[in-house]
């Protein structure tokens, strides 16, 4: 598995063989608090980078999740239906949201690497 890359909307993405697996960052999971519901797209849905792709809801509010890269949804994390709190427990592992078959690799150039993201969230305070 390659390195994690991040959007400024706090999604992470890991790319392997043209497939991008994505989720929300540890920072985002902490900010959202207890996650009680995750709405994932249909398999086969086609998205462009920055499109709304999922919704993560805490007790307090619903938050939109955006596609970090363009592509087609090929798999969703079905386990989150029964256990949405997995996103809090392990946002970068078991709490992954979905996989996209990428169709625009240049999208990755707009993302931050780990170090850049760390300093980005540090600046947010």
């Amino acid at each position: 598995m390659n390195d994690y890359m991040y959007t400024d909307q706090h999604e992470w993405v890991c790319v392997e063989g043209g497939v991008a697996i994505m989720g929300i960052s540890i920072y985002a999971a902490e900010q959202l608090g207890d996650i009680v519901y995750v709405e994932l797209p249909d398999i086969g849905a086609s998205v462009s980078q920055g499109d709304e792709i999922a919704v993560v809801e805490s007790v307090k509010a619903a938050s939109e999740i955006y596609a970090p890269v363009s592509g087609v949804v090929i798999e969703i994390n079905e386990a989150l239906g029964e256990a949405p709190d997995t996103v809090n427990e392990d946002p970068r592992g078991e709490g992954w949201l979905l996989k996209l078959k990428m169709n625009k690799p240049a999208d990755l150039e707009k993302l931050m690497d780990e170090a850049a993201y760390d300093s980005f969230i540090e600046d947010l305070g």
Binding site: E30, Q31, G33, D34, V36, Y37, E39, V55, E57, S58, V59, K60, A61, A62, G81, P84, G125
Partner: protein, 387 residues
């Protein structure tokens, strides 16, 4: 996580430093910097309050004393101040015994709800002719000026700006408070007494906004921090933020002003007709009485209902409610995930013909119709301490 930068014009409650010290996530609410949650998080804070005891800072709410101008004493003084206040609310204020609290509604001339509030007849011979009022934070300036104008020359309103208000809520609340305030245990639900708490004279009422047993303690601002720390020192007490306050009150079926009730709603549609006393239904004499008494006879076109969405997706405020054919029949006014219920809960208004228990409706969440059942409230049983 560091405290977010807040607007400098936000007011701080007397417990502000304590909230920050406890790691509270501070957000603007009704002009105040308030904790929305602490490090435990909304879910844990909610469950803790239902199982043990939670401490809430509700100092942003408006406390005031309304005092009769005329020099009467005893029951005659109460009768006079109550008669004056009954021109603003539909509740039975005259009938309050010393120390009794009543939940009521400030109404406009059309019967619209200006605010909901707590009204207490104080104990003590020298305090007859006074009413102690607690109103919503966001409404206090308007409420106070409304009351002053309407009762000018009859009664004088003194806002108690220098007092904090702490709420201790949950099944362990009485046990926690007993060593600090031995007299508190004798209060029953909706009763208030003046008593020493942690060595300081406070107004203690057995009431709250969670559906649980509990107390609200009005204390001088300067003493609030020490009192809060004394309560938090107990193993069973956690500080609770506004997030869990909202999920607790929603599960308890209690209205939030500005969301579930406002000036466009009336007590009958809001299913708060129980606040209209029997005597007042006969005599009227409250704002909008004709309209409201008419609604009581004919029924209101819309009604506030509880909604239990199927599945796990919460339906938030503003969600459209439709019938089986997709026609809009109402709107959600409050919605969240109920931690004690273990699923989403909501309330809203629907056309009366859809308001009966068990009726299936649809909630339009993100463009998709999701089934929900009209459900009686509260969603979780109340555990008030009634004698």
């Amino acid at each position: 996580m560091t405290e977010s930068i807040l607007k400098p014009d936000l007011k701080a409650t007397p417990l502000h430093d304590l909230h920050v010290e406890l790691g509270g996530k501070m957000v603007p609410f009704a002009g105040y910097a308030m904790p929305v949650y602490y490090p435990a998080g909304i879910m844990a804070e909610h469950m803790h309050t239902r199982e043990k005891a939670g401490l809430f800072d509700v100092s942003h709410m408006g406390q005031a004393v309304l005092k009769l101008e005329k020099g009467l004493s005893g029951d005659a003084a109460h009768e006079a101040i109550a008669a004056a206040f009954e021109t603003l609310v539909p509740g039975d204020i005259k009938g309050l015994k010393p120390g009794a609290i009543r939940y009521s509604l400030l109404l406009d001339e059309n019967g619209g709800i200006l605010d909901d509030l707590m009204i207490t007849r104080p104990e003590g011979e020298e305090r007859q002719g006074e009413l102690f009022l607690v109103v919503n934070a966001a409404m206090k300036a308007q409420d106070f000026s409304h009351i002053e104008i309407k009762l000018q020359g009859v009664a004088r309103l003194t806002p108690l700006g220098a007092r904090a208000l702490l709420a201790l809520q949950g099944p362990k609340a009485a046990q926690v408070l007993a060593p600090l305030a031995p007299d508190a245990e004798a209060l029953s639900f909706m009763q208030m007494g003046e008593m020493d708490v942690n060595g300081v004279t406070c107004l203690v009422s057995r009431s709250g906004y969670t559906g649980e047993d509990g107390f609200e303690i009005s204390v001088a601002a300067a003493e609030a921090d020490a009192l809060a720390r004394a309560l938090l020192a107990h193993n069973d007490v956690l500080p609770i933020g506004l997030g869990a306050r909202d999920s607790l009150r929603l599960e308890a079926g209690l209205c939030l002003y500005g969301h579930d009730i406002d000036q466009t709603t009336d007590p009958v549609s809001a299913r708060l007709a129980w606040t209209i006393a029997k005597r007042r239904r006969i005599d009227g004499g409250f704002p909008g009485a004709e309209h409201i008494l008419g609604l009581l006879k004919k029924g209101a076109p819309n009604k506030r209902v509880g909604l239990a969405p199927e599945g796990r997706a919460p339906a938030r405020e503003g969600t459209e409610i439709t019938d089986g054919q997709g026609a809009i029949i109402g709107r959600v006014t409050s919605g969240t995930f109920g931690p004690s219920v273990g699923g989403p809960v909501a309330m809203g208004y629907v056309h009366s013909k859809f308001a009966s228990e068990g009726t299936m409706v649809q909630l339009m969440v993100r463009g998709r119709a999701r089934p929900a059942r009209i459900q009686p409230m509260p969603f979780t049983p109340h555990h008030y301490h009634k004698s």
